[in-house]
């Protein structure tokens, strides 16, 4: 376990060694800041049944920002080690493959969590400035941030999987972006499939992060997405582990 934490420590720190952490943080803060301003000005236009949480999370801007985060933070994880050859010193030290996979995934997840911490300030400032109690609800915060964590776990595992496939970071980034976009757009299919039966559309709806977010940011915490994200994260990590092991056969 000590070795796992040593690996994890290096993974988290490695974000901050390079400018990547700061660039990604600025980029995300700029976009989410803009998204928040947009949401607030929407609420400002007139009476609305939306809370500020919904106005922030349940928008086009939010999703546009969201899908870009994962390729940026996960593309280096394995690809860089393969490319620099440091994988050789890493894997000839007495560490187990699963420890490396888990440390890389959790390192990305921790950085992802750090990325979202500043956004809590937005809501704090909003409440302090407007005193609009109706617009802010504890359940909505809990729901939104819980879903953010669950989606983060899953999409980080998707990103790690993409990164373990190649030693080229750009290719890793593109693969993970495409995978995440496909997952996101699959949820949008329900809006275009007009002639399909209700059940089919419901099924797509269940898997749609956009649908899930609209209920979670309303404070409705559904157990189905929780189970879905936990199992899918496990699946992707198992796949990542399997692919990581194949390196021994193709070196």
């Amino acid at each position: 376990m000590t070795k796992f934490f040593t690996l994890l420590g290096r993974e988290v720190k490695s974000f901050f060694y390079s400018p990547i952490a700061y660039v990604v943080m600025c980029f995300i803060l700029f976009l989410t800041g803009f998204d928040f301003w947009w949401g607030v000005s929407l609420l400002d236009r007139g009476p609305s049944d939306m809370t500020v949480v919904q106005a922030f999370f349940d928008t086009f801007f939010f999703w546009m920002t969201y899908v870009l985060i994962f390729p940026l933070i996960t593309m280096r994880s394995f690809s860089e080690e393969f490319n620099l050859g440091t994988i050789e010193s890493l894997m000839t030290a007495p560490v187990k493959d699963w420890q490396v996979v888990m440390a890389k995934w959790m390192g990305c997840l921790i950085f992802y969590i750090i990325l979202w911490i500043p956004t809590t300030v937005y809501f704090w400032v909003f409440t302090w400035a407007t005193q609009a109690q109706a617009a802010h609800a504890p359940g909505a915060y809990a729901g939104s941030y819980l879903l953010l964590l669950l989606m983060g776990m899953f999409y980080c595992s998707v990103g790690c999987f993409a990164s373990v496939l190649t030693k080229n970071q750009i290719i890793a980034a593109v693969i993970s972006l495409v995978m995440i976009l496909v997952l996101l757009f699959a949820g949008l299919l329900q809006y275009v499939m007009l002639d399909v039966s209700g059940t089919m559309r419901d099924v797509f709806g269940y898997f749609s992060p956009i649908e899930q977010m609209s209920s979670f940011s309303n404070g409705i915490i559904d157990s189905r997405p929780i189970a879905w994200y936990l199992t899918m994260t496990t699946l992707m990590l198992v796949l990542t582990y399997q692919v990581f092991q194949t390196r021994k056969w193709k070196v």
Binding site: K3, R10, S18, L84, S89, K96, V251
Partner: protein
């Protein structure tokens, strides 16, 4: 310490190492020689559990490198070719990280990191970022990394490649000192280095072991590659024929330099013909200005064994 039995590694359509068997005993410094692509790095990577062999067995300190990989890796300090390092970490931080990965903890961690920095001459760069260090220092960081957990066995893949002569000398001294307490297997292209440091040499070519012996024995086997150099003015033209009459002479070549002739007398292995050559020259009253034995170098051995037409 190392035991390799019938080890074979095949890549798609090409056999990198073919059924090799060797042993390295405790306390030995063994040089692993061979031309590029001979299978040195492949063998070392298998020994360090970085990749599996196609068939055969390898073990370190009695632990099979596949089945008991963790135990084997704990006892091994491995420095890969080209020394891959995390360029964004600082020297001390990197060594501490590596030591922890290899199971060094607590007070011993600080001690060990301090010790290897001292040993490898890294004190003056300990707070620098590895990416800003020169090649020589990076090499030393790699060596310090391999040593940090006090392994019984060191495997060094071309530890002096890309260093300047002064750095090579200091790394060579370091390796020699390490040999007092560690078993070392190192690969290199620099043959004088092997002669200076290694107690035994394994020559590998096209995936097979060509020879495994002490540098002295290898040279002795190949004394004929050297021979006797005689620079004389015999005054006659039949000097070559006379020299060839001496028992044990394989062939004689001659170079003319004005009225002086330079003969190179190649003898059979293990024969020292200096006395006979001298007697012949004295009997015939040749004027001699040089008579010397040119010993075979490890380079001659290497070329002889790995030469391909």
């Amino acid at each position: 310490m190392i035991k390799v039995e019938n080890l074979t590694k095949k890549y798609a359509g090409f056999t990198a190492i073919n059924n090799i068997t060797f042993e390295v005993g405790k306390g030995e410094i063994v040089g692993f020689l061979g031309p590029n692509g001979a299978g040195k790095s492949t063998t070392m990577r298998i020994l360090s559990s970085f990749m599996p062999a196609t068939s055969g067995k390898a073990s370190i300190a009695g632990y099979d490198v596949f089945e008991k990989s963790m135990e084997a890796r704990t006892r091994l300090g491995y420095m890969p070719e080209n020394v891959p390092l995390y360029m964004d970490m600082r020297v001390t931080e990197y060594l501490a990280y590596r030591a922890q990965l290899k199971g060094v903890t607590g007070r011993r961690l600080k001690e060990r990191v301090g010790d290897v920095k001292e040993l490898c001459g890294l004190k003056e760069v300990q707070n620098r970022i590895i990416g800003t260090l020169s090649k020589g220092y990076r090499q030393r960081v790699g060596l310090a990394d391999a040593l940090v957990h006090e392994p019984d066995l060191l495997i060094l893949d071309e530890p002096t490649i890309g260093l300047d002569p002064n750095q090579i000398r200091s790394v060579r001294e370091l390796i020699k000192n390490l040999g007092k307490h560690h078993t070392i297997l190192l690969s290199t292209h620099i043959l004088p280095e092997v002669e200076a440091t290694c107690s035994r040499v394994i020559i590998i070519n096209r995936g097979r072991i060509e020879a495994s012996d002490t540098p002295d024995n290898l040279r002795r086997q190949l004394r004929g590659a050297g021979g006797i150099r005689l620079e004389a003015n015999p005054g006659t033209d039949d000097a070559v024929a006379e020299l060839q009459k001496i028992a044990g002479v394989k062939d004689v070549t001659v170079q003319e330099e004005g009225e002086w002739k330079r003969f190179l007398v190649r003898a059979d292995a293990n024969a020292d013909l200096r006395e006979e050559v001298f007697r012949l020259a004295a009997d015939r009253k040749w004027r001699v200005r040089e008579l010397s034995q040119r010993g075979a170098t490890l380079e001659d051995v290497f070329v002889e064994m790995t030469h391909t037409e």
